[in-house]
């Protein structure tokens, strides 16, 4: 495989994404919301004493905090109510929600890269070049995977910065972000979810052959993330370092299987005939 060809394919796909507003706009809005907007709202809201008193007087909320798994409670020891709220929302519950990003970024770009070529009938000219099936596939995978991961990591850095800066007056140096439980999510589960999103989108693109169709169908993968969010909130599955590594392994294996199926599908003969 020739790196220059792979890079050219990836670069071209990203240039096209940049020109498609419905592709890049969600990739700007969602990170800003998750990494900056919502954390700032949560960090600034508890400073209102009336709001804190209201929380302290809510028996449901207090019993919810008491019922949290012991691993989570360990992080809350010695914190006042204000600090506990920041820790619960931004330290625990936001963690699985962050996984929406690698999944969303990768499926948007992959839908544009794979289904978009079909939709705009540009695939045939690409297939008549000397680029091999493998180079085309890897180039398109790289176009979706690399920016998805890079953006996720940038958002993670931004989130860390916002939490530590805006949260400093509240946390008073007791705990700094990110919590160790975030590392498996960001560096182990996120790449797996990116690959899962891309490979699923390749398979979906072969059927729908339109950018919006592929994007909407692959969007159903968000259910995986929602399941993790619900698990975390209800305390059924707390994403500790160990469980995070295990969940990541399952996603890696699933993504591996779907990638294998995508590679088998991504052959000139199939691409040409199904594009007719």
């Amino acid at each position: 495989m020739r790196p220059e060809v792979i890079t050219a394919i990836a670069k071209k796909d990203l240039l096209e994404v940049r020109q498609n507003t419905s592709a890049w706009l969600p990739m700007v809005i969602v990170p800003l919301l998750f990494a900056v907007g919502l954390p700032l709202i949560i960090l600034l809201a508890p400073r209102n004493p009336a709001f804190l008193n209201q929380i302290a007087a809510d028996p449901d909320l207090m019993s919810f905090i008491d019922r949290l798994p012991p691993v989570m409670l360990a992080y809350l020891e010695g914190l006042d109510l204000n600090q506990k709220m920041v820790m619960i929302f931004l330290g625990f519950f936001f963690a699985p929600m962050f996984l929406i990003m690698p999944l969303m970024f990768s499926t948007i770009i992959a839908a544009e890269s794979f289904a978009g070529e079909w939709e705009r009938k540009t695939l045939e000219a690409l297939l008549y070049t000397p680029a091999s099936d493998a180079e085309l596939f890897v180039g398109k995978m790289a176009a979706a995977g690399a920016p998805a991961l890079l953006l996720t990591w940038i958002c993670f850095g931004l989130y860390t910065l916002v939490l530590n800066a805006a949260g400093a007056p509240i946390m008073a140096g007791k705990i700094s972000f990110p919590l160790p439980t975030w590392y498996p999510l960001i560096f182990w589960i996120s790449p797996a979810l990116s690959l899962l999103g891309i490979s699923a989108t390749v398979l979906i693109s072969a059927r729908t052959k339109t950018f919006m169709g592929a994007y909407q169908l692959s969007g159903s993968l968000v259910l995986i993330v929602l399941a993790l969010v619900v698990g975390q909130v209800t305390g059924v599955l707390y994403l500790s370092i160990g469980s995070g590594m295990l969940v990541g392994l399952v996603i890696w294996l699933t993504a591996g299987l779907l990638t294998w199926l995508s590679v088998r599908l991504f052959k000139r003969a199939f691409l040409l005939i199904s594009g007719d």
Binding site: A8, E16, R120, L123, A125, T129, R268
Partner: protein, 317 residues
């Protein structure tokens, strides 16, 4: 001349659907070769097979001495294909499109800017080089797609329906460009078309396909002779046809048939040498000869005669 493309007993099926049936032909170096046929005749499938996009069901193909089934990548390094739709990235500029394909075709980085400028200038697109392709007219897109196919100086250029989506003016422009690529550059060009006037104007030889089968192969002259043996003359008279003229013409040696056609006569003769005898007979019969013209059968007539024959009919004369 060197054979650069040969197809022997090529058969291909898409599932149960037959696409090509025992097709054989050869293409020579420097030739403009036409594949003619209606939609579904197997023209695009032939281009795909010879470029190694997928293997044929049966049959043998050699392109520049290479086997497309095993050496598709090597073949695509030496061929350029203009697909039926321009297949350009419309959100990118003309130059970005060409730069992308130049990289994929392994053109050395140092050569790319000059080659791209040369082609943009040749196809009259230099002033719009940095505009998005989505702002181009259909004719401009087709010219850019032609430039893309020629980027890496291919040995063989395949053009799949190069003018089918264009208006007459743009068609003529693209046809002139193809002619200059073929005739002036000496490049081998295979043109797939259902536009017969295009093939007539461009091609040295044509293969006429029908339902995946080869109906005829040869130069236009060879095909004319095959469909309509002999030569047809149109004899136009100023003031009516003398009563005895038809009978007198029929007795001339070399006259094969005489048919009245309004105030004119149509004659089938074995060769051009018979024409003076025909003229003398008309005059001696008292006819006022206004015009005596050998009739050229067009490719269109050849084509329809062959398609009709393949559908179970006979040659129309």
């Amino acid at each position: 001349m060197k054979t650069i493309l040969s197809v022997e007993h090529l058969t291909h099926r898409y599932g149960d659907q037959p696409a090509l049936d025992n097709l054989s032909f050869e293409m020579q170096e420097g030739e403009i070769f036409g594949l003619l046929g209606p939609n579904g005749a197997g023209k695009t499938t032939t281009v795909r097979l010879v470029n190694g996009m997928f293997p044929p069901s049966t049959g043998k193909i050699r392109v520049l001495g290479l086997n497309p089934t095993r050496q598709g990548t090597e073949i695509r390094r030496q061929t350029g294909v203009l697909t039926e739709t321009p297949a350009l990235y419309e959100r990118l500029t003309a130059r970005q499109n060409l730069e992308f394909f130049a990289t994929l075709c392994e053109m050395p980085k140092s050569e790319r800017p000059a080659r791209i400028s040369e082609l943009l200038s040749f196809f009259g697109l230099e002033p719009r080089a940095n505009d998005k392709v989505s702002t181009f007219s259909k004719g401009m897109k087709q010219r850019l797609a032609l430039a893309r196919a020629l980027l890496h100086r291919p040995e063989i250029l395949f053009l799949d329906e190069p003018t089918s989506a264009l208006d007459p003016e743009a068609s003529a422009q693209v046809r002139d460009l193809i002619a200059s690529i073929g005739r002036e550059d000496g490049r081998s060009v295979l043109v797939c078309t259902h536009i017969l006037s295009e093939a007539e104007r461009l091609c040295d030889r044509v293969a006429i396909l029908g339902k995946g089968r080869l109906l005829a192969l040869g130069s236009l002259e060879e095909l004319r002779r095959r469909v309509m043996p002999g030569l047809w003359l149109e004899v136009e008279l100023l003031s009516g046809i003398p009563a005895s003229l038809e009978a007198r013409l029929a007795t001339i040696d070399g006259v094969l048939a005489v048919e009245p056609a309004g105030s004119s006569l149509r004659l089938q003769v074995s060769q051009l040498a018979v024409v003076p005898a025909v003229a003398a007979a008309v005059i001696s019969a008292g006819g006022h000869l206004l015009r005596l013209q050998p009739q050229e059968i067009s490719l269109e007539e050849v084509y329809f005669a062959l398609q009709n024959e393949s559908n179970g009919g006979s040659h129309a004369s």
